[in-house]
């Protein structure tokens, strides 16, 4: 029997250290706010933070139907990079990457941002041409990008199989040294804590069920916790964007799909960088804790169920094994899915809507984690000034009518 030194009648908790400080309050919704942000994922939380920090707007609520970052924010594979093809994309993704580089200090919160570089492998001649073209485009935009021959790929990541006799041999890779990963839930908590410090209400278990529109203007939201009046409403609902936009009668060029990812058990450090392959369709990194983190492409059908099919995982594993034979004995620990909002040109929609006071941030599909600080910054600007920031100005809803698409299928071809 253990001998206890505790005094009879005292609570067993008395011997324990104090609960660490809570990162945010859990306030009840107020009847009215200047700005209501719908969706407490990374984008919604970052938008709240920059509304306060950059624009002094603090009478703000973030409404989240579940728990903060319970959507794609804490389900993604955390790849951060800015090596997209077009000038428009370079603008917003590179703005974001620059913010990532100072984010830990700015939020005063550890986010395990690690600039370990990203390799995008090329496996065919056209792949090589497209990749080199992207490298040159990146360089013209001042973004760090290099073309690596197979031997140099192996110098960056020795466990990649560069032998010429595999089904899809590695013919080279683009390399962005400043790219990397971060710990997604910490990022969300860092933004949430800061937003809360500014007095912004983060309200969980509060699902928006309707948008109140009077004339041409949005005036409030209906929620499972009652009606809330709003001067402006900023939608940041990722996979559910079509459902929310539909509440204001808006139709979006978006299809929602399951996107799966998985982790292995914890392993010794073996994978020093991030490797992505469009052609064999897998991307792999190793988290700080030691799990191999892998993702692939979307499940083909529309789905809101946050789960996908097992054959997608099987294909992803066979692709990973061809590229990394050393993983043959690793065990798969967990798989999961998020719901991603896919647009026809693989670029986001961030800006104004035909309804006054209603703003849209969606369509980031499989690749919006990297944009978290950048889009938070630009979307806050859009909401504050009722006018897009120059970096999100090209990403209008209107471009599907004018034809000014920003086709990033090449750079975003694999989901990430």
């Amino acid at each position: 029997m253990s001998t206890s030194t505790s005094v009879v009648g005292a609570s067993p908790a008395d011997g324990l250290p104090d609960h660490p400080a809570f990162l945010w309050r859990n306030p009840a919704p107020k009847p009215s706010y200047d700005v209501v942000i719908v969706g407490g994922g990374g984008h919604g939380l970052a938008t709240a933070y920059y509304l306060a920090k950059n624009h002094g707007i603090t009478n703000v609520a973030v409404l989240e139907k579940g728990w903060l970052a319970g959507g794609n924010m804490a389900r993604n594979t955390t790849i951060i990079r800015s090596n997209y093809l077009w000038d428009e994309s370079s603008g917003i993704y590179e703005h974001s990457l620059k913010l990532w580089e100072g984010l830990e200090e700015d939020l005063d919160y550890p986010i395990l941002f690690s600039q370990r570089g990203v390799l995008n492998l090329a496996h065919g001649l056209q792949d090589v041409r497209d990749s080199r073209r992207r490298v040159y485009a990146n360089q013209l935009n001042g973004i760090d990008a290099e073309w690596l021959e197979p031997e140099d790929v192996a110098k960056v990541c020795p466990i990649v199989n560069i032998s010429p006799d595999i089904r899809y041999p590695v013919l080279g890779a683009t390399y962005q040294p400043r790219a990397g990963i971060a710990k997604h839930d910490y990022v969300a908590w860092g933004f949430a804590r800061r937003a809360d410090e500014y007095g912004i209400d983060l309200i969980q278990n509060c699902e928006v069920t309707g948008l109140d529109v009077a004339g041409d203007r949005v005036v409030g939201v209906q929620t499972t916790r009652g009606r809330i009046a709003a001067g402006k409403v900023a939608l940041s609902a990722a996979g559910h964007s079509s459902v929310l936009a539909g509440m204001a009668g808006l139709r979006l060029p978006i299809q929602s799909h399951p996107l799966q990812a998985l982790v292995s058990e914890l392993l010794e450090p073996v994978h020093p960088t991030v490797v992505m392959s469009n052609a064999v369709h897998v991307y792999v990194s190793q988290a700080h804790k030691g799990e191999l983190v892998m993702g692939a492409g979307i499940d083909s059908y529309n789905g809101y169920g946050q789960r996908g099919a097992f054959h997608i995982i099987e294909r992803q594993m066979s692709a990973a094994l061809e590229l990394f034979p050393v993983f043959a004995r690793a065990h798969l620990l967990r798989t999961w899915a998020g719901i991603v909002d896919v647009t026809p040109d693989a670029s986001p929609i961030v800006g104004l809507t035909p309804v006054d006071g209603l703003y849209l941030n969606c369509g980031w599909g499989t690749g919006g984690f990297k944009a978290t600080p950048g889009v938070g910054w630009c979307f806050a600007h859009t909401v504050a000034h009722d006018e897009p920031h120059p970096y999100n100005a090209p990403f209008t809803l209107d471009r599907f009518t004018t034809g000014a698409l920003v086709d990033e299928h090449g750079a975003a071809g694999v989901a990430h």
């Binding site: 459902v243 539909g246 204001a248 009668g249 979006l252 299809q255 929602s256 529309n302 169920g305 009518t401």
Partner: protein, 106 residues
């Protein structure tokens, strides 16, 4: 793995099928008369409801025929399958994602 009931072959594994997106999207009757906005709707915009959705599938590794299905996108339940050219059963009304609009703004 999810089983999908092909109207010709019966239940087969999902991996045998190819997805074709929203069903019943007809080519415009008068293509020359369409505005840019109308073309945009035809080319880029599809319904994206959370709930019953009428969609096309092709039994790629089987009979290779196209057919239609009503599937609940939230639960992934296949509520009905029917042949190309037919309309979905009246009893299952596929939602377009637009009907919430009337409710919400009413």
């Amino acid at each position: 793995m999810q089983l999908i009931p092909c109207p010709w072959c019966g239940d087969r594994e999902e991996a045998e099928f190819h997805y074709g997106g929203q069903a019943h999207v007809a080519y415009p009757d008068d293509p020359h008369g369409l505005s840019d906005a109308q073309w945009a709707q035809f080319v880029f915009f599809r319904d994206n409801p959370k709930g019953p959705f009428a969609e096309r599938w092709m039994h790629a590794a089987g009979c290779r025929r196209w057919f239609n299905a009503v599937r609940d996108t939230a639960t992934h339940d296949l509520l009905a399958v029917y042949r190309t050219g037919q309309q979905p059963p009246q009893s299952i009304a596929p939602s377009t994602g637009q009907d919430q609009a009337q409710v919400a703004t009413a």
